[in-house]
């Protein structure tokens, strides 16, 4: 069954919930405006269940309603995880057994992007959502270059550290800076190092399309919600192969 609708309490009822804020004071007109938005979003009928004034001139709404849209699961395009998800212990064990040395990772935010949240979430011990970052993995040697790193510096450090993998985080997307920076980075690595010597190139950020890896000249793109463990598992998969 590839066609589905949202499920409230009955198959096919199409019920969804939605909450949002409108920059208007709370009155009957504001409630009407909220229903209008819900209608335009395809909710019909839209049932306004909650409206609450917030501060000066804002109202928060909760709307329940039925959407008429159909979802075709066969038409969905995603990058499925094509490698096994390993625990930190397993990652360490595979590297130790198969590489017999630590796996070198160099990470940075390139260009003018000072937003280290992404790279820190993946690399720093602190990690994200209760999962520790790559620094925690005993068999990974991590160099986090931080923010606003130039592409030549990144290439130089990757070479000096004998990086097996380079992780680049890009958050700022003004004027497609994330795409341009990524292309410049992958081109610089292609120029500086022959194919067999090039580290695995990985970029991550909340606004990347995970399907664009080939177009940007990188090996993998990670999107929103990626965890350190997924990255570590991918490194093992791409650089070492099967864990067994």
């Amino acid at each position: 069954m590839s066609i589905v609708r949202p499920y409230g309490d009955t198959t096919g009822d199409g019920m969804v919930q939605l909450s949002f804020t409108l920059p208007v004071p709370h009155d009957k007109r504001a409630e009407g405006a909220a229903v209008q938005l819900a209608n335009k979003m395809g909710m019909d009928p839209a049932l306004l269940v909650h409206a609450k004034p917030m501060g000066d001139g804002f109202t928060f709404f909760v709307v329940y309603g039925r959407v008429s849209h159909l979802v075709d699961t066969d038409q969905v395009q995603v990058v499925e995880r094509d490698y096994p998800l390993l625990s930190a212990k397993e990652v360490n064990a595979v590297i130790k057994r198969r590489m017999r040395r630590r796996l070198n990772v160099v990470g940075a935010c390139i260009g003018t992007d000072a937003h280290t949240v992404g790279i820190d979430a993946i690399l720093n011990l602190k990690g994200i959502a209760g999962e520790k970052g790559l620094e925690y993995y005993r068999e990974l040697s991590v160099t986090n270059m931080g923010a606003q790193v130039s592409v030549p510096d990144l290439v130089e450090t990757a070479r000096a550290q004998k990086a097996d993998a380079v992780l680049v985080s890009q958050v700022v997307t003004q004027r497609d800076a994330h795409l341009q920076n990524t292309r410049a980075m992958s081109a610089a690595f292609r120029e500086a190092l022959p194919a067999g010597k090039r580290p695995l190139l990985i970029v991550g950020g909340p606004r990347f399309d995970e399907l664009m890896a080939a177009e940007l000249g990188v090996d993998r793109i990670f999107g929103r919600g990626t965890t350190p463990r997924e990255v570590a598992s991918y490194l093992v998969h791409a650089l070492i192969g099967s864990p067994h």
């Binding site: 928060f60 000072a114 602190k126 209760g130 923010a147």
Partner: protein, 518 residues
């Protein structure tokens, strides 16, 4: 509310004595070293203002020039004021500009009388800066008297973080009107690793707004208006952390900020800043906070975001005891110690709420006169905003039951987005419901004698004492190098900012430290 845990006062005394022994070598280290940022803070208090056309503050240019000529080890005060006398320049910022252009040579005066004269001039200039800090403190006292403190405890602490100070201001004012007693302006990512303080009003931070003197001034002025409107003094918080901790502490004092994040080990553990740099900078910054009447907030909550909140509970206690020792040594009083801790136990763990209660009550009873900063769950916030809101409610309940002083409002959208207007409104509604609904429930909340909560609290204290004893034997710097806190390993000869540290020479002179220790 003392005495609910039946802590043995002898054990508590032992814990404090151990913390003092563990901390003393670090204090000795801090007293015998200086850093570029300490020296820049001295010059800021002496009146250096502004930045060059590249945005590099004149204070950086001046310290760099002095350092190139005579090194840091004498302190910059004497070489700078000796040069003022020699060149006849009477504006210290002008001297910095000339020095940056290479037009001034710095030296340590060979004659004792010249050195004495330079010291006297330096003292006069920095005392003017300290007088401004004193006036700001008196001003705060006056405004609190006029508008009043929040009616309830804990104080409600909310964060704004747009990156644009002009956007932050209306958000902060709206948050205060909605019930926030304390506004914290989160800093732009990466500022902690800048070895200078940016200048002017800024509008382009990432996930936060740069800490600058002008941003401090603008936000404080806006919150003064709102305090007047609400009839309640709204406090302002920023971060004295990173490579410029001492300078930011000075700027906070000059612009009447009310609270500052200032942890003894955060920069070492989470920003990989050199341990010695951090301890030297921290001692000076705390001395300035003490003078400015600023409440510090320590960062123990962060350890629990990396280490397990149950297994590592005692490391929080150890760090609180160390932070208390360092703070007292620097002249801070108990009412200024917003010692940190957090609700970070895995909610899937059986009895997790009971454990949280035990830990929170332990902090309360160990530090009865400190305000305590109670931090919401972050590590187990997953993006499931509904569950997140429930966790935040339980976090608020612990805060109400254990008499926490400062409650950082948890956001159900933690780990999802920077808080939306509606997220903040829902979070405040949660806080208000719990604080009002629970009322004085803490009066009835008396853990059973010898029961789970008492046992757990005493066990954590026991583990803290064991760890402190070990730190006394191994030294704190070794413990940090070995990954004792937040499981991060940070050796004393590594990390950022080490090249900005110098050991005092015989004739080291710092007029600010002299005044603050008098």
């Amino acid at each position: 509310m003392a005495g609910k845990l039946d802590l043995d006062p002898r054990v508590v005394r032992e814990a404090r004595a151990l913390a003092a022994r563990a901390g003393q070598p670090v204090v000795d280290l801090a007293r015998s070293h200086t850093t570029v940022s300490v020296e820049r803070a001295v010059l800021r208090l002496a009146g250096v203002r502004g930045a060059d056309s590249d945005g590099i503050p004149w204070v950086n240019r001046l310290v760099d020039a002095v350092r190139a000529d005579v090194g840091l080890e004498h302190g910059v005060a004497v070489p700078v004021f000796h040069a003022m006398r020699g060149t006849g320049v009477d504006d210290i910022t002008v001297l910095a500009q000339k020095a940056a252009a290479g037009a001034v040579r710095f030296g340590v005066p060979p004659k004792k009388a010249e050195a004495t004269a330079a010291r006297k001039l330096a003292r006069r200039a920095t005392n003017d800066g300290l007088k401004v800090i004193d006036r700001r403190r008196a001003e705060r006292d006056r405004l609190i008297k006029r508008y009043g403190d929040p009616k309830q405890r804990p104080w409600i602490y909310l964060i704004v973080a747009t990156g644009d100070i002009l956007e932050d201001i209306p958000q902060a004012q709206a948050a205060a009107r909605a019930g926030a007693d304390v506004i914290a302006v989160i800093r732009s990512t990466g500022q902690s690793l800048l070895d200078y303080v940016p200048e002017g009003a800024t509008r382009e931070g990432f996930a936060g707004t740069y800490a600058t003197q002008e941003n401090f001034r603008l936000m404080r002025a806006a919150l003064d208006e709102t305090s007047k409107e609400l009839g309640r003094y709204v406090r302002l918080t920023n971060y004295a952390s990173g490579l410029c901790m001492p300078e930011i502490a000075a700027l906070a004092g000059l612009e009447r900020l009310d609270m500052m994040l200032n942890d003894s080990m955060y920069g070492i553990l989470f920003r990989d800043i050199n341990p010695i740099r951090t301890f030297v900078d921290q001692r000076f910054s705390r001395q300035v906070h003490a003078r400015a009447g600023i409440i510090i907030n320590t960062g123990e909550d962060n350890y629990l975001t990396t280490a397990d909140a149950v297994e590592a509970a005692h490391t929080v206690t150890v760090s609180q005891l160390l932070n208390e020792f360092f703070a007292h040594e620097a002249g801070l009083e108990n009412w200024q110690l917003g010692l940190g801790h957090a609700f970070e136990i895995n909610p899937e763990l059986p009895e997790s709420f009971r454990l949280e209660l035990a830990h929170a009550l332990l902090a309360r009873e160990l530090f009865p006169d400190a305000p305590l900063k109670w931090m919401p769950p972050t590590k187990h916030m997953t993006g499931d905003v509904f569950r997140g809101n429930l966790l935040d409610g339980f976090f608020n309940l612990v805060g109400a039951l254990t008499g926490q002083g400062i409650l950082l409002v948890g956001m159900m959208t933690e780990a999802v987005v920077t808080p939306w207007l509606s997220d903040r409104d829902i979070a405040l509604q949660n806080v208000r419901y719990v604080l009002t609904g629970a009322g004085n429930l803490h009066e009835d909340f008396v853990p059973a004698p010898g029961g789970f909560i008492q046992q757990r609290a005493n066990a954590v204290l026991g583990e803290a004492i064991d760890l402190l004893a070990k730190i006394v034997d191994d030294t704190l710097l070794t413990a940090i190098a070995d990954g004792t806190f937040g499981i991060m390993k940070r050796p004393a000869d590594r990390g950022k900012g080490l090249d900005g540290v110098a050991k005092h020479a015989e004739d080291y002179y710092n007029p600010v430290t002299e005044a603050l220790e008098a």
